[in-house]
């Protein structure tokens, strides 16, 4: 059964339409990649799926249920997680506090949450070393790990990543790549990237965003 499905989805800011008629189908436990230049509408699409922006028309279904009426925080509770562009970690909160934010919205039970918390620190050992540090003091790569770890604690059905390699040193890019590869098959991922190599390594299916339209590619 299809996990996430959009039909004729259009979105943008107020009167400005950035993308239109996007039909995207995401099957469970797959990795979908979207390529495209800056300004093509990739970020706008992800924000619309996550509920930060209101769709202008069309539908979004998760497990066959319409999620359009849900606000962003409700979609997060139902398993749509977005790791936003630029990481957006809370700089004034410690690493531990950052990871604790999704606790009450998580689909995990309280006991399960604590177990997964440990697991995240195993996947990203650098975070364990820096648990008490402020988020603002982390390097770009560590911030990306924190942002991904934080979203994983929601227990997502689909994890959306907006340019996860942007601004990262190459060594960090390969670390992010291998940790995402390790998570393959647990849930679905939707990754937006300009880095084609990165997507080639990960994705089952790939799309290109051109002029606000989505096209399948190989």
């Amino acid at each position: 059964m299809t996990l996430l499905e959009t039909r004729n989805l259009s979105g943008g800011y107020r009167a400005l339409t950035i993308f239109s008629d996007v039909n995207l189908t995401i099957e469970p436990n797959t990795i979908t990649g979207i390529l495209g230049p800056n300004g093509a509408g990739k970020t706008t699409l992800l924000k619309t799926l996550a509920g930060l922006l209101k769709a202008q028309s069309g539908t979004i279904r998760l497990d066959g249920n319409d999620v359009m009426p849900l606000s962003a925080h409700d979609r997060a509770r139902h398993g749509i997680a977005l790791v936003p562009e630029g990481r957006q970690i809370f700089q004034g909160l410690t690493v531990k506090e950052n990871l604790g934010i999704p606790r009450s919205a998580s689909r995990f039970s309280a006991v399960e949450f604590d177990r997964r918390f440990e697991e995240i620190l195993t996947i990203f050992p650098r975070l364990r070393e820096r648990l008490g540090q402020l988020g603002g003091g982390l390097s770009g790569g560590e911030q990306q790990m924190l942002a991904i770890g934080r979203a994983l604690l929601l227990d997502p059905k689909v994890l959306m990543l907006d340019e996860p390699t942007q601004g990262l040193a190459p060594i960090m890019v390969s670390q992010v790549l291998s940790s995402l590869e390790a998570l393959r098959g647990r849930f679905s991922m939707l990754i937006v990237e300009q880095n084609r190599d990165f997507l080639d390594r990960l994705s089952n299916s790939k799309f290109v965003f051109r002029g606000g339209k989505l096209e399948q590619t190989t």
Binding site: N38, T165, G167, A169, P170, L177, D197, F198
Partner: protein, 571 residues
């Protein structure tokens, strides 16, 4: 505001005044007209400060009461009226200038609370020194009784007309554009060369002078001044009245003052409900009709008149706005030099020891991931930031300590998201830059220069559209054309290619080549590598504020470390 509209408004106002004076409007007598006209005159000051420029000045009533207090106190000391009045006004204007000097430098909310506090202080002092100010029972003015009601009415109407005349004469053309630019975006305004602090201080002073004249006459007419008249509540009532009439409109203060006064006249001085009525009106207008009554009335009128910028007759350009003599335009001559520039924000290094030399007639690119320090570098060159250490030289002159607006003539800068003033036409946005570069030219000549600039970059077909009607990509091109007005020695372009269609990208390349041919040094921050490789000559690559490579674009793109950091090559 167009000339025809001003004349129309003046005519309607005159007719209304006549009708009111004849007593044909219920409840309105010549004494209502006098008080309303004087209140409107004072409100015009608040309209300039708050309505036009958008400064949150919450203490204007103090500037109405102060001159009256000064004059009244001098009168008691035996100073003749003809000396006391101008002296009181001068003192208040000087005081306003001093207050402005401090307050306009502060962020908006401090201005709001600072002016609120100023009003409280004046009210407190008026209460505290009853032997001078009459205390709570008020200061009485005897001289007003020497004039009859009709004389007062004439004085009030003539003063108001004079105030309106001064306003119409002053707030137009370049001044109007400048004030709208400041209101909309102070940073963009200062990068265009506007001295934002000076302009705001000037407007605060002029506006307070309006309040002072209006207040001085009003309290002499009414005959008594109590401490509350200087206080916070009066100031807030004024804001409410202005918002009701329409903040930012020439007629806003007049409409507001008239509606409020008239309402309280026909409702039989509903004094008990005064505060709650003011408050409710204030809240409703702020939330549901931010343009006020004038906005509602003028909207259909504007639609009829076609709200387009007036076309200026094209005059031949004999004036040059070139900022520097042409001999520095020899391609290859060093233009921008950065010596060991370091910038840190509270211990975090945004840039570490960066040196640059950009030559005239060259396209130079700054490459690097987000957060690498590219925008910080632009802010240092354009003067928005002062570097923690290091020097900036332009054409051999050290500009490190020059404030933004003083170096703006030499540096054109476009923004990642174009920062045009939305309520002005495309042409007026470009004229805004010409205003700063050639303030001595006539309005016509400045418009012609702006038009020529748009024509040179093949954007003239957009000239008379309002910015809101123009697409995002085209706005970016207009922003760049504006930055290049006057052929400055250096132009900084912040991610010019982002969000452009392929046709607009070609247009952009053509614009940059033109600048290059004119001997401009063009510095570009851009993520679109394909675009940069085609257009740029040299560049440097930044990562976390440090230089990791420099050289010709071909060389730096070939370098392994750059490939790795930028293209995310997975070794």
């Amino acid at each position: 505001m167009s000339r025809a509209l001003s004349i129309g408004v003046a005519a309607v106002t005159a007719v209304l005044l006549g009708v009111a004076w004849l007593g044909w409007i219920p409840g309105v007598t010549s004494s209502t007209i006098t008080a309303t006209a004087l209140r409107a005159l004072a409100l015009m000051g608040l309209n300039l400060i708050f309505g036009v420029v958008g400064m949150l000045a919450f203490g204007q009533a103090a500037f109405m009461a102060l001159p009256a207090y000064f004059a009244g106190i001098m009168d008691r000391m035996g100073v003749p009226l003809l000396i006391a009045l101008p002296l009181a006004l001068t003192m208040v204007v000087l005081l306003a200038r001093a207050v402005a000097e401090v307050l306009v430098r502060l962020p908006g909310v401090y201005l709001a609370v600072g002016t609120l506090g100023f009003g409280m202080v004046v009210e407190g002092l008026a209460r505290a020194f009853p032997s001078w100010t009459g205390g709570a029972s008020g200061l009485v003015f005897e001289h007003g009784r020497n004039f009859g009601t009709n004389v007062w009415c004439a004085i009030a109407v003539v003063s108001l007309a004079f105030g309106v005349g001064c306003y119409v004469w002053y707030v137009r053309g370049a001044v109007w554009r400048r004030l709208r630019a400041i209101r909309h975006d102070e940073l963009a305004a200062s990068v265009l060369g506007i001295d934002v602090h000076r302009e705001k201080a000037k407007i605060f002073t002029i506006g307070s002078a309006y309040s002072a004249v209006g207040g001085l006459l009003l309290f002499h007419y009414v005959g008594v001044l109590i401490p509350e008249d200087a206080g916070v509540v009066r100031s807030l009532e004024q804001i409410g009245t202005l918002l009701l009439g329409g903040a930012g409109f020439l007629v806003g203060p007049i409409v507001g003052a008239f509606l409020v006064d008239w309402f309280f006249v026909i409702s039989g001085y509903a004094a008990r409900y005064e505060l709650v009525i003011y408050g409710a009106t204030f809240l409703l207008v702020v939330m549901y009709a931010p343009q006020g009554v004038s906005g509602l009335l003028l909207r259909p009128w504007k639609r009829l008149a076609g709200d387009k910028a007036e076309k200026a007759p094209v005059v031949e350009i004999r004036h040059s706005v070139a900022a520097v003599s042409s001999d520095s335009r020899v391609s290859g001559r060093p233009c921008l030099l950065l010596h060991n520039v370091t910038q840190s924000f509270g211990g975090v290094h945004a840039l570490v020891d960066i040196s640059l030399d950009v030559k005239a007639g060259e396209v130079f690119t700054l490459v690097g991931p987000n957060g690498a320090g590219k925008t910080t570098l632009f802010n240092i060159v354009s003067g928005v930031l002062r570097p923690t250490s290091g020097r900036t030289l332009l054409d051999g002159v050290d500009i490190t300590d020059l404030p933004v607006h003083r170096r703006a003539a030499l540096i054109g800068r476009s923004f990642q998201t174009p920062r045009l003033v939305p309520e002005l036409s495309v042409l007026a946005n470009v004229v805004l830059r010409v205003d700063q570069l050639s303030p001595k030219l006539s309005e016509q000549a400045r418009q012609a220069i702006a038009l020529e600039q748009l024509r040179m970059f093949e954007l003239e077909n957009l000239s008379y559209l309002s910015v809101a009607e123009v697409g995002l990509g085209q706005r970016k091109l207009i922003d760049i054309a504006r930055a290049a007005v006057g052929n400055p020695p250096i132009v900084l372009l912040d991610e010019p290619a982002v969000g452009l269609t392929s046709a607009e990208l070609m247009h952009l390349s053509e614009m940059i080549r033109k600048l290059k041919r004119q001997g401009c040094a063009v510095v570009i921050v851009e993520h679109n590598i394909e675009f940069v490789s085609n257009i740029a000559d040299r560049g440097i690559v930044l990562d976390s504020g440090r230089e990791i490579a420099r050289g010709t674009v071909r060389d730096i793109m070939a370098e392994e470390s750059v490939k790795a950091a930028y293209f995310g090559a997975l070794s």
